[in-house]
């Protein structure tokens, strides 16, 4: 039986780990390679690096982090942030990423997803969807895609976009609630569930984890195949092993032994 995946996520800026509340006020939580090693040893099922370095000139730093991580950690690694071209994807895969997450480039040009999937295989193309609730009180729920760390609205309906990119060849969707990110209030379960029920590819829930029950909810109520969290692990609030035990006790299929 396939197990539910627990994925620690490291926001990386200029080769260092950061995690911001609502994507501002960043705090330095260390060397990504060291963090990756620790998460590997702790039994994380995958690891995710999101590069939030503003300029593209610093790409070499990220590739170096990915390369050094892949050398020491025999675990699957997803890398996202600033992926704009087929060459960006190739560079990350060659450095050792197993999956590459596309965000703004997929919003600007959904056909890029198709091109990437045909070139590298759907299994390594993740589309990262950053969504905010835009429906008013009493209205049917509606979410819109935002780019640039949640600052830029696009007018694109998140649910329709999710279906579209899944159809175009995305192998996985990383769904982040921009309302919840950094709040510790839990995932936007309605968002995750609406997307997970509407596509035939795995969905990773992201944004808002504040305690271990939130991880359980993401799978049980959000219908996600995997759950992603950052701060609760980075600052020692909970260990990965503790989180996986908690999820197993709640009845989810977890990989508790290597």
């Amino acid at each position: 039986m396939l197990k539910t995946r627990l994925i620690p996520c490291l926001d990386v800026k200029d080769g260092r780990v950061v995690k911001g509340v609502q994507f501002v006020d960043l705090r330095d939580a260390g060397d990504p390679v060291e963090a990756a090693k620790a998460y590997d040893a702790a039994g994380a099922d995958e690891l995710c690096f999101l590069d939030i370095t503003a300029s593209h000139e610093n790409r070499g730093t990220l590739l170096d982090v990915v390369r050094r991580t892949a050398e020491t950690c025999f675990m699957p690694l997803t890398v996202g942030g600033g992926v704009r071209t087929v060459e960006d994807i190739r560079g990350l895969l060659l450095a050792g990423a197993d999956k590459v997450a596309i965000n703004t480039a997929a919003v600007k040009n959904p056909d890029f997803v198709r091109e990437a999937a045909e070139k590298f295989g759907a299994q390594c193309i993740v589309v990262a969807i950053d969504a905010k609730r835009v429906s008013g009180e009493g209205e049917p729920l509606r979410w819109e895609i935002f780019t640039h760390g949640g600052r830029q609205p696009t007018g694109i309906d998140a649910i329709g976009f999710a279906r579209k990119v899944a159809h175009l060849g995305a192998g996985e969707l990383l769904v982040t609630s921009m309302d919840r990110d950094g709040t510790k209030a839990g995932y936007d379960l309605a968002l995750v569930r609406t997307i997970a029920d509407g596509v035939n590819v795995p969905v990773v829930a992201s944004g808002g984890v504040g305690n271990l029950d939130h991880l359980v909810e993401g799978v049980r109520d959000g219908h996600a195949s995997a759950v992603l969290a950052a701060s609760i692990f980075h600052f020692g609030q909970h260990s990965v092993a503790e989180a996986k035990r908690h999820m197993a006790e709640a009845g989810l299929p977890m990989r508790l032994v290597a």
Partner: protein, 216 residues
């Protein structure tokens, strides 16, 4: 002893090479691991590894794009009987035909087709992505000493297509994903794994150690 990991432009071979080096070190085997696109190096190696990620047809084109590579592999593996390990799409390429996007001939070493997964439970997502356990079908030295079954070690899968061998005797292990999914195949001096040993932590390193010690 030397291991050649064939580089034909299909994704990252770095972690595969590192995993083979580490497994050799752990097993106390003196092994050089070379990532190569040189057919002569493949002919000279003691063991041959064919990795692969991406689409079947794209990988086949990549392999054909290296002049003399398929011929060198065929000579080394099929005529000289050197141990061969296909990983993920590298395993799928051992089949007769790949049916992803278009019909593409495989190396035809393991008779059978590579077809899209069709789990019996429609709620199961495609790709089959993540950690799953393995169920033994036929004993093989590759899985010696590795705990399999529901309480066994886990392997990391990420694929939408799977090899369906014509001969069930060539299936060493399957995984369950709304039905049996071929996980490990073997024939003569050849083995293949659908999952990624280089990403499968304890199980993966044990499998690679077994491959390095294997004398078919």
């Amino acid at each position: 002893m030397s291991v050649a990991i064939i580089d034909y432009g299909s994704g990252n071979l770095h972690s595969a090479a590192k995993a083979f080096e580490r497994a050799a070190r752990e097993a106390g085997i003196d092994e050089t691991v070379e990532v190569t696109s040189d057919p002569e190096a493949v002919l000279a190696a003691d063991r041959i590894v064919l990795p692969g990620v991406g689409a079947f047809a794209d990988c086949r084109r990549g392999l054909d794009g290296v002049p003399g590579m398929v011929e060198a592999m065929t000579e080394a593996v099929r005529r000289r009987g050197k141990p061969f390990f296909g990983i993920c799409v590298g395993m799928q390429l051992m089949c007769s035909r790949g049916l992803e996007y278009e019909t593409t001939p495989g190396l035809d070493w393991i008779p059978g087709d590579v077809k899209r997964l069709h789990p019996s439970d429609p709620a199961l997502k495609i790709p089959h992505m993540g950690w799953n356990v393995l169920h033994l079908q036929n004993e093989h030295p590759l899985v010696d000493g590795i705990r399999l079954g529901p309480e066994g070690l886990h392997a990391y899968f990420v694929h939408s297509y799977a090899l369906e061998p014509k001969n069930p005797d060539q299936v060493v292990a399957v995984s369950d994903y709304g039905g049996a999914v071929t996980a490990i195949v073997a024939r003569d001096n050849m083995v293949g794994a659908q999952f990624h040993p280089e990403k499968s932590q304890a199980l993966g390193l044990a499998l690679i150690r077994n491959f390095l010690a294997w004398r078919p």
